[in-house]
């Protein structure tokens, strides 16, 4: 037996294992064994042969060499043989030898899958060398692993915990925790595992390890069905997405978490989760880059050292690299998840009401020729929805049509057709919408959406003013789909069709009936609000007030609350409770949008009615001095009323600068209102102050001169809106002075010089009226521009009436009636309302509906504000209707009322005289006919009327007939006498 130099052996092992600190494993003097018991070696013969006669030291050298090159099977065999051959040698049994070799043997056994042997080696080591050993950390860690592999999980947990407790902050402690949590997951001890992983994530450990713990927790949460926890972990972690190794694991976990959040109604969070999901090509590229990085890192580690603890780390990273590689392979082989993901991603945007983003995603997928057809089709459909949700009907319509062109046989075709109908509805093209819905209802009678189609058709018809047919649809819905989701809605709208027809009794009846049925329905507040509206329309103010108070006490927070407060104000105004109404209006806040200025101006109206001018000034001053950023439309109007109130208080010198300000600041503002009123007030006041020699700087000496000069200045400075307003005002002035032709010339000058885009609502209406009166076709363009560009203006009434009149003159009665219905529905209180009613009466007469005409005109006769010419006109129309009905005597009575009571309208008086006379003639009462005409022609004021000519001709004819009759009668009398 001979001994080698100890330092030589250590240096040999150190250099080959590149151990660094762990070199202390082998600090003893290795004995060289002279003899082998060859027969006991399990190794192959050639190897054993080569080991024959080898010393312990040389044997150890071979074993270590095998270990270093990673040939653990050979190393294991050699270490076993070492024990067999030299186990009884004192050198072998020497503590230092055992201290050095046992951990290596344990690791080798572990690497070979001989976990029980590994446990044996490690336990022997710990038993022999206890807690003071330098190799303890490695041995404990490996022992825990070996325990786990042989199924002793509790022992494994305890041992890992020992590593953590004894070596806090070390890499092994971190890995011990990760592995311990894995075992806890295997043992279904999820709460403990999540708690420990979370604590670790929040610790000071290396970020890469903490991130692994976090990713493991995320994956485990999702895999164990704790998806909410998984989503929370995902969203509360700052993932270094572009540099983390297992990016695919994160991406798929994010996909799963995003789906969960989307399905549980959290689309905004789902979007956040989905942002961790790149498309497949990007993910593959990222994963490839990470894998290359890991491999290069592994290579560097391999170059740096291969001792047992280093191998533990290498094994750890090799595990990650293998996982990444496996994920990459699966990823490459798997079907591209991107299209399905994009559908979900777009849906998240859609549900989060981020419609533009949704449209971007859906369009992108719909146009992606590499995506599966069904995905593209589905995405195209949702692309339509994205625009529909934003009320972008033009785009929605185009995209929907593209869909039908691309996928005419798609099962979604009916749905897309329905979207098209909705798009038409959004564009106010109700007839087109109804046409599409008609075809849907006929072509797909069994479709699951047919109920909704019928309801929508009814709604479109209602919006189109076709109340009776709309009612039919709502009735059909309630009859056919008594359990339908929209049953209450249909019933409500059914009742409201009566409301829009001003059949308030039927409306109230329907709504009252619905109240009992809809006690727990979400529409109950709406039904109650509508009931109050109907009562208000019936002028049952007390009942209306009770109804609206009942509504407000129960539904203070609903979306109708502001409208209810406004309605309450209107009801109180109707009752004459002006201050109560003012209080109600004051409760309408700026958040109520357009209702707010309505309430403000209603309050102003109350102060005006009460002649409380100081309060009126204060009220409107408070409105105009609101911060510029706040919502305060109709500023010019408010200022006008302040000036007006000052004027009423005799403070013209305060009013004049305000009027001047309105003209200066808002004269050229196309959206500003009451500019013409301001001009009138400015002119009158200026003249008054001039007469009183009040030296206000705004006073103008000659208002007409000033108007002309101001027009020139406006034209010169291209303030064309202002120019048109000044011209219109001037034209009005000329018209009042009887200079109609000059007024018309001014209007035509506006047509020539001011583009439509610069005319305000009043300008478009007035110019349109003049053009229509002169028979110019461009009148229609003005009216249509007024309707499209001033959808909230009351001046639209002029356009409705003007367009109705044009269609009437062209004999297009249904179209004319359509505009008149819109007039009644949208601008019923406009000053042209009576004219509109009369035009409607004329159309009814022309279309052979005299009863309806009489009904309408009788209603008009009940309206006090229509007294005067409208009433006279209504009477003549009733008379004509009676003639159509053959009720000639009644007709005469109506004409007589005209020429008896409405002397101020000589044209109508003349007409009535002539028509009465003709009826008398038809009835054979020639003398009455003649005397009627004689009476008429005896009136000087009627001689210039057009009908005077007719009257003259009739009178001569009748006089001749009467004379002839008289003569005949006289002759007859003489004959009788003779007889």
């Amino acid at each position: 037996m001979k001994f080698t130099d100890a330092s030589t052996v250590r240096s040999s092992i150190d250099s080959r294992m590149n151990m660094g600190a762990p070199s202390s494993y082998f600090k003893w003097v290795l004995p060289v064994v002279a003899l082998f018991s060859v027969s006991s070696l399990p190794a192959p013969e050639p190897l054993l042969d080569s080991l024959a006669g080898i010393t312990l030291s040389a044997f150890l050298d071979r074993a270590v060499e095998a270990f270093v090159v990673g040939d653990f099977l050979l190393a294991d065999e050699l270490f076993d043989q070492l024990e067999v051959r030299f186990g009884s040698e004192p050198e072998f049994q020497d503590d230092e030898f055992q201290r050095a070799t046992l951990p290596v043997r344990g690791y080798v056994a572990l690497a070979n899958g001989s976990s029980r042997a590994a446990v044996d080696h490690f336990e022997r080591f710990l038993e022999k060398f206890g807690p003071a050993s330098r190799q303890r950390r490695f041995v404990l860690f490996s022992l825990a692993q070996a325990y786990a592999e042989i199924g002793k999980r509790e022992r494994a947990l305890q041992t890992y915990q020992s590593v953590e407790a004894e070596y806090p902050g070390s890499g092994e402690a971190a890995m011990a925790l990760l592995r311990r949590c894995e075992i806890q997951f295997e043992l279904n001890r999820f709460d403990e595992a999540f708690r420990d992983l979370n604590l670790f994530y929040e610790s000071e450990a290396a970020f890469s390890l903490r991130l692994q713990a976090r990713l493991r927790a995320l994956r485990a949460a999702l895999d164990s069905g704790r998806k909410g926890l998984g989503a929370e972990i995902l969203l509360q972690t700052e993932w270094p997405f572009s540099s983390m190794p297992e990016v695919a694991v994160l991406a798929f976990a994010a996909l799963e978490a995003g789906d969960f959040l989307l399905d549980t109604g959290e689309p905004a969070k789902a979007i956040r989760a989905y942002r961790y999901v790149p498309e497949k090509h990007t993910l593959v590229a990222l994963q490839e880059r990470r894998l290359a990085g890991l491999r290069s890192s592994l290579n560097r580690r391999q170059e740096r050292g291969s001792d047992a603890p280093a191998r533990v780390w290498m094994q750890h990273y090799q595990g990650i690299a293998a996982a990444v590689e496996s994920q990459l392979d699966s990823l490459k082989e798997a079907e591209d998840y991107t299209p399905a993901f994009l559908l979900r991603f777009g849906q998240a945007f859609l549900l989060a009401e981020r419609y533009r983003e949704a449209a971007i995603v859906f369009q992108s997928l719909a146009e992606d020729r590499d995506a599966p057809l069904r995905m593209r089709r589905e995405s195209h459909y949702r692309w339509v929805l994205s625009f529909q949700a934003r009320d972008r009907w033009d785009e929605a319509l185009l995209i929907a049509r593209d869909y039908l062109n691309a996928y005419p046989d798609s099962e979604l075709a009916p749905s897309v057709l329905f979207l098209i109908a909705k798009a038409y509805q959004g564009q106010d093209r109700y007839e087109d919408a109804v046409e599409v819905l008609d075809s849907l209802i006929v072509d797909f009678p069994g479709h699951r959406w047919v109920a909704q189609w019928i309801f929508t058709r009814g709604f479109c018809r209602l919006l189109n003013g076709e109340y009776a047919v709309a009612r039919g649809d709502f009735s059909e819905y309630t009859t056919r789909f008594s359990e339908g989701l929209l049953r209450v809605n249909a019933q409500l709208w059914h009742s409201l069709t009566y409301f829009y027809e001003r059949d308030y009794d039927s409306a109230l009846y329907g709504i009252n009936a619905l109240l009992g049925e809809a006690e727990s329905h979400h529409l109950l507040p709406e039904i109650k609000y509508r009931r109050a509206s109907v009562l208000y329309a019936r002028r049952e103010y007390e009942a209306a007030l009770r109804a609206i108070d009942d509504f407000l006490s129960s539904y203070e927070e609903t979306h109708r609350a502001a409208e209810a407060r406004v309605l309450r104000g209107d009801i109180l105004m109707g009752q004459g409770e002006l201050m109560g109404a003012a209080v109600a209006f004051s409760q309408v806040t700026p958040e109520a949008g357009p209702l707010y200025p309505y309430a403000v101006f209603q309050t102003g109206k109350i102060h005006r009615a009460r002649e409380d001018y100081p309060r009126m000034v204060a009220h409107f001053n408070a409105y105009v001095t609101r911060a510029a950023a706040e919502y305060r439309p109709r500023l010019s109007e408010a200022l006008y009323w302040i000036g007006w109130a000052h004027d009423q208080m005799g403070r013209g010198h305060e009013a004049l600068p305000i009027f001047a300000r309105v003209l200066r600041e808002f004269g050229n503002d196309r959206s500003a209102t009451e500019i013409l009123l301001t001009l009138r007030a400015f002119g009158k006041l200026s003249a008054r102050l001039e007469n009183r020699s009040v030296g206000a700087p705004e006073v103008v000496e000659d208002f007409e001169d000033w108007l002309q000069a101001e027009r020139s200045r406006a034209m010169h400075s291209a303030r064309l809106t202002y120019y048109s307003r000044l011209s219109l005002y001037l034209a009005d002035t000329y018209r009042k002075g009887g200079r109609d032709h000059v007024a018309d010339l001014l209007i035509l000058e506006i047509v020539e010089t001011v583009p439509l885009r610069d005319l305000d609502a009043a300008g478009l209406g007035k110019v349109g009226q003049v053009l229509a009166g002169l028979g110019f076709p461009s009148a229609e363009e003005h009216f249509e521009t007024l309707l499209s560009e001033f959808p909230a203006s009351s001046e639209r009434a002029v356009a409705f009436y003007g367009l109705a009149r044009i269609h009437f003159q062209d004999g297009e009665y249904p179209e004319a009636l359509g505009f008149l219905e819109r007039f009644g529905g949208e601008t019923p209180t406009h000053v042209l309302a009576a004219d509109a009613a009369i035009l409607e009466g004329e159309i009814l007469l022309r279309t052979g509906r005299p009863e309806s005409a009489i009904e309408n005109m009788e209603e008009l006769l009940r309206i006090k504000s229509a007294r005067g010419r409208p009433h006279a006109r209504a009477l003549t129309l009733i008379a004509q209707a009676r003639i159509q009905l053959g009720e000639l005597e009644k007709a005469i009575a109506y004409y007589q009322r005209v020429y008896s009571l409405y002397q101020a309208y000589p044209d109508l008086v003349a007409l009535s005289y002539v028509e009465s006379a003709l009826i008398f003639e038809e009835l054979g009462d020639l003398e009455a006919a003649l005397s009627t005409l004689v009476e008429m022609l005896g009136r000087a004021d009627l001689k210039a009327q057009d009908d005077a000519v007719r009257a003259l001709a009739a009178r001569d004819r009748l006089a001749a007939r009467v004379d002839a009759l008289k003569r005949m009668n006289s002759a007859s009398s003489q004959e009788e006498i003779v007889r």
Partner: protein
């Protein structure tokens, strides 16, 4: 420095087909009569000393090694139709060699230190000096780009970068367009395309910028590694008071960028937020602001008067 010829050139050569065998592989033209007298046609000035000119060395003759191992030293007369016309001094006269691209093995340019100096200057971001040195180097080499390996034209992307970073938009466009045909690396090409786009935008060439940006967005696709094209389209729209298209263009990269940080994403958020406010969509603006913070996207450091395109090496 010796630069081997680019290996991906076509193997065809028109030289070999027409040259008599006794003249070997190369067709050259001897001009014995005219060039025998040095005074008739002097030697190239490149061989003259250049006192005070820091780049004089770059005008010294280059050395071309042919595929047969022959070494020729001279100056490039011109390059046309895949043939390099090399003027080589012979005695008091000179010989002009017509070397097909395929016949050239490598080219050796004088001035290796100057090239290194350019790299140092670039590293130190001394942009005006970078421009000066790279322009001289470009002048020396640009004619031979077709036969040089791809790294060589790629090296001069630094010149475009320097122009871009100093706000010299016109020069940036000119040099980017000069280099583009020779660049093989997608990364280089993308950078130059970006510079061209930004330069047009900064020069207020609205139509051209819009056209370039549109082409850019189509070419780069939905998962582009930059948001530049979308941003330019959005800025153009916003400048014209068109907030809606500005917003939609910006949203494109915001939607598809995911958690990968693409350049100009912050700018897109910025424009999208402004456009939202212009449209009166305060809620949307706030959502975008929150998202910007959640995604931890921070403002890039742009030049004072323009956009800075980050360059990845």
């Amino acid at each position: 420095m010796t630069i081997p010829k680019s290996r991906n050139e076509s193997a065809s050569s028109r030289c070999g087909a027409v040259i008599p065998s006794y003249l070997g592989w190369c067709r050259f033209v001897l001009l014995p009569v005219l060039f025998l007298v040095g005074t008739t046609l002097p030697k190239t000035s490149a061989q003259e000393p250049h006192s005070g000119d820091p780049f004089a060395e770059l005008r010294n003759p280059i050395t071309v090694t042919d595929v047969m191992g022959r070494v020729l030293t001279g100056s490039v007369l011109r390059v046309a139709h895949r043939v390099v016309h090399l003027r080589v001094p012979v005695g008091v006269g000179e010989v002009i060699y017509e070397l097909g691209f395929d016949a050239i093995e490598s080219v050796n340019f004088p001035g290796a230190e100057i090239r290194q100096h350019a790299e140092d200057l670039h590293r130190d971001e001394r942009w005006p000096e970078v421009i000066s040195v790279l322009r001289a180097l470009l002048k020396q080499r640009r004619e031979l780009f077709p036969i040089l390996p791809r790294e060589e034209p790629s090296f001069f992307v630094r010149l475009v970068e320097a122009y871009h970073l100093t706000g010299a938009a016109v020069e940036a466009i000119a040099h980017a367009r000069l280099l583009l045909p020779y660049l093989k690396l997608a990364r280089d090409r993308r950078y130059l395309e970006d510079v061209i786009l930004v330069a047009h935008y900064e020069l207020n060439l609205i139509q051209e910028a819009r056209q370039l940006a549109t082409v850019w967005t189509v070419a780069r696709g939905r998962y582009s590694s930059s948001a530049l094209g979308w941003l330019i389209l959005a800025k153009l729209a916003l400048n014209e008071g068109e907030a809606e298209p500005a917003l939609v263009n910006c949203l494109y990269p915001i939607v598809f960028s995911g958690h990968l940080r693409v350049p100009f994403l912050f700018d897109c958020y910025d424009v999208a937020i402004k456009a939202s406010r212009t449209l009166g969509e305060e809620q949307r603006a706030r959502i975008l602001e929150e998202e910007l913070a959640f995604r931890a996207i921070y403002a890039p450091e742009h030049r004072e008067d323009g956009l800075t395109i980050p360059r990845t090496e």
